[in-house]
């Protein structure tokens, strides 16, 4: 077996094998170093896979060498490789940048446990992206969620605890719903492999259980993906998690659930349930539009910086779903591209927040007064990422919104409404970003008598600053030269839609 054929397995095995070892690394900093190294290695593997996929390869891997419906298969196509890039990239950058920030949040003795959980979250999320087996997706979903609860619970504020509890309850309900759906499909087809399911569902005559299964799987994954109105766990979990964790999870956590949802829906249901595409659109399009409007409006009145950005995430999930619910190549391309671009923008924003938090007294907007003058470089990166979030031309966010508008315009009157919603959402984004900028630049230079001496310039640590700027510049780079992600997204969309014929 050549190394390149083993890549899909290595993608998961590397973090999985490192996680138990990290628990044993007691000396200061070694756990972080090992975790970062494993994460960087995973990122390199993901890059290699993405390069292979772009040159036309697909990766299939039979675990234990057992053929597909009997053993568990891994299959990585364009969509999967894009998600793998997001997951491993976000993890690596967040780890590299946020060491200081994590040291501040988590005591030294607990760090090995924390970093092991981080690696498990990474392994779980990559495992979901790589798997081609419905039940295996469930197992890795549980690894990633359990590890996700752990790292979110590392937040120093006591309010992190109820937030994690809610996250745990909602996450478990979502996973169990998914499990029920998979069980019903297994009952009607006798297989767990996604491709095999698709083939065998065609012969099933009684489709009622399959319909119920489609409902359960969609709702379960929508819970995990925080699709409006099932997003209630997300804002608090993101707000009270350690900043590095927020940067990691905001960039890729919900995207992976969306990925499973789309894959399941297009691979298994669309081709086999009559008029499923119309039901899919009818169900998701209004939710997507409402999600964009309501979540953006809530963000407008939010006073905590991280909560504000979390609600903005809920709105962005709406954009992605909007693209997907059109069930066209352009729509799906736009949706998938927006996953990538939003991950870049939100990742950059939360990295900048991690930097700001090291200097600011708190993350309420009123406590941020004058922070832009104290840390101009950190805040500069924040603004660039925020521009990308809004979708200003020249940034990555613009590209995906442009594709999205093009895709919706193909749909007549409904398309006009959708475009209006997109524009309204973007305007709301301008407004809430402006509130942050206003507070940070022109707000009262928050009188801080308690801390006394404040040096006029207190930038974030150099490494964090460099990483934040790297992500911010990536936003610009992919705004000017979007070919690679667009190509991957288009390939992914075509793969998804190929099952519709």
């Amino acid at each position: 077996m050549s190394l390149s054929a083993q890549l899909p397995a290595l993608q998961i095995v590397v973090p999985l094998l490192t996680a138990p070892l990290v628990v044993l690394l007691k000396p200061r900093g070694t756990a972080w170093a090992a975790t970062t190294a494993a994460s960087a290695m995973a990122f390199a593997i993901a890059l290699a896979i993405a390069a292979g996929v772009l040159s036309g390869e697909t990766y299939n891997y039979a675990m234990g060498s057992w053929p597909a419906p009997y053993g568990i298969a891994l299959g990585i196509d364009a969509f999967g490789s894009l998600i793998l890039l997001l997951v491993t990239g976000a993890s690596t950058l967040a780890l590299l940048g946020c060491r200081r920030s994590l040291d501040a949040d988590i005591e030294q003795q607990r760090q090995p446990l924390f970093y092991a959980a981080w690696l498990l979250a990474l392994a779980g999320l990559s495992g979901i992206a790589a798997s081609a087996d419905a039940f295996n997706i469930f197992v890795f979903m549980e690894i990633s969620s359990l590890a996700g609860y752990i790292i979110v619970a590392g937040g120093p504020d006591r309010r992190a605890l109820p937030a994690v509890f809610k996250y745990l309850i909602m996450g478990t309900i979502g996973a169990t719903f998914y499990l029920i759906g998979v069980g019903l499909i297994y009952m009607m087809t006798g297989t767990l492999n996604l491709a095999d399911m698709e083939a065998r569902l065609g012969d099933v005559t009684n489709l009622d259980p399959v319909l119920v299964a489609a409902g359960f799987i969609t709702i379960g994954l929508a819970l995990k993906a925080a699709i409006f109105p099932l997003h209630v766990w997300l804002p608090n979990a993101y707000t009270y998690a350690p900043h590095a964790v927020t940067a990691f999870l905001a960039a890729c956590g919900t995207k992976v659930a969306l990925y499973v949802l789309l894959r399941f829906d297009f691979f298994v249901f669309q081709g086999n349930l009559a008029e499923h595409d119309i039901q899919f659109s009818l169900f998701l399009l209004p939710l997507a539009l409402l999600g964009i409007l309501i979540a953006s409006s809530v963000a407008l009145f939010e006073t905590n910086l991280k909560r504000l950005l979390a609600f903005s995430s809920v709105a962005q999930v709406g954009y992605i779903m909007l693209g997907a619910s059109l069930v066209t190549v352009t729509g799906l391309t736009a949706g998938i591209l927006h996953m990538f671009n939003h991950a870049l923008a939100k990742g950059g924003l939360f990295l900048a927040v991690a930097g700001l938090a090291l200097a600011a007294r708190g993350l309420e907007l009123r406590q941020l007064g004058g922070i832009a003058r104290q840390m101009p470089w950190t805040f500069g990166a924040f603004v660039i990422a925020a521009l990308s979030l809004i979708g200003i031309p020249g940034t990555a966010g613009f590209v995906s919104k442009w594709y999205l508008i093009q895709a919706t315009l193909d749909h007549g009157a409904l398309g006009i409404v959708a475009v209006l919603v997109i524009i309204a959402g973007s305007l709301l984004a301008v407004a809430y970003v402006w509130r942050i900028v206003e507070a940070a630049s022109f707000g009262e230079a928050a009188a801080q008598p308690d801390t006394g001496a404040i040096s006029p310039s207190r930038e974030a640590p150099t490494v964090l600053l460099a990483i934040t700027w790297l992500v911010a510049l990536l936003n610009v780079y992919f705004g000017v030269r979007p070919e690679a992600p667009v190509e991957l997204s288009r390939m992914a969309a075509e793969i998804l839609l190929a099952h519709l014929l």
Partner: protein, 328 residues
């Protein structure tokens, strides 16, 4: 026929128990009822010809889960405050959901229908090929250990994650070396109670012996790493109850437990990687030995050992994390 009637009887009891768990306001009672619920569930699984699952549910669902719940109850509250009434909206929505699911059942294959799709595809292949490819009688172990060994690997890491999660969450603010790691030296368990002490001391070795039997007999009968890990953990927990936390921790210190958790997970992954290094795919045991059948058997024994060690270590670590914490 008699099986069906018995099944209906047990299932009805199950529903009644579930309602009682939800309705009672005494949390202690609710937890004990939950244990009964799990036991009934295990009996049901046994009637449905799932011996392995029944053993697991009895050991983990009725045993370990109850102990963890009780440990948490001792640290929190015994009674639930009365929930406000007027949750009829929730009740309504959920009733509709249940009705929908019952409606969907009428197109499902009936219980025990040999023509059901699940019995036509994939499963017959396992039943046919297992004796040839692995030479072991218990097909569940074969599927668990080899055909779907990757799932089981994932599961081991779920347990691992739960263990580090509980340790991480409960070590907050106290530090790993103080608080969490220092059991109350005053806790003497039931040492001064003659009857439990004598009977308990008599039983502990047999429980551990039975656990080992379940571990190594898993290829031939119901059993395997999960069940064995849980049973051995129960034995040690019984010891801790009898002799007090401190002496249980003297016998099996936390570092040893953590080592077990880590070692088991590493053993499992290591077997998988060995398959890779020897030229097969990940978790391919056939390449471990010159004879693929023997290779499969060796692989399954090794990974089952890994599973057992991790599960046992994790469950005990979780138990100690709850039991040694002082109520504040």
């Amino acid at each position: 026929m008699i099986e069906v009637v018995f099944g209906v009887f047990l299932l009805t009891l199950l529903v009644i128990t579930a309602v009682a768990v939800v309705r009672t306001e005494n949390l202690f009672v609710a937890v004990m009822l939950m244990s009964i619920f799990s036991l009934l569930m295990a009996a049901n699984f046994f009637i449905l010809d799932a011996a392995d699952v029944a053993l697991t549910e009895a050991a983990i669902g009725a045993g370990i889960t109850t102990v963890i719940f009780l440990g948490a109850l001792a640290l929190t509250a015994q009674r639930e405050k009365r929930s406000p009434n007027g949750r009829f909206a929730t009740l309504g929505v959920i009733s509709v959901l249940a009705a929908l699911m019952i409606w969907a059942t009428f197109d499902k294959p009936r219980l025990g229908d040999p023509d059901a799709p699940v019995h036509q595809h994939v499963a017959p292949w396992y039943l046919e090929q297992t004796p040839e490819l692995m030479g072991i009688p218990n097909v569940v172990t074969a599927v668990l250990g080899s055909f779907r060994g990757y799932d089981t690997l994932g599961e081991v890491f779920v347990v691992f994650a739960a263990c580090i999660g509980v340790l991480f969450v409960l070590s907050a603010g106290q530090g790993l070396d103080r608080g969490l790691f220092a059991p109350d030296p005053e806790s003497e368990g039931l040492r001064h109670h003659l009857i439990p002490k004598v009977v308990g001391r008599l039983l502990v070795p047999f429980i551990v012996l039975f656990g080992l039997y379940v571990q190594f007999h898993g290829e031939y009968g119901p059993g395997g790493g999960f069940q064995a890990g849980a049973i051995i953990a129960t034995g040690v927990i019984l010891y801790a109850l009898l002799e007090g936390e401190a002496s249980a921790l003297n016998a099996l210190p936390r570092s040893v437990l953590l080592g077990m958790v880590v070692g088991g997970a590493l053993l499992y992954t290591g077997v998988g990687v060995a398959g890779m290094l020897l030229g097969g795919n990940f978790l391919d045991y056939s390449v471990l030995m010159s004879d693929p059948v023997i290779g499969q058997q060796v692989g399954i024994v090794l990974i089952e050992a890994g599973v057992g060690i991790t599960v046992c270590g994790s469950l005990l670590s979780i138990f100690h994390a709850f039991a040694a914490r002082e109520a504040r």
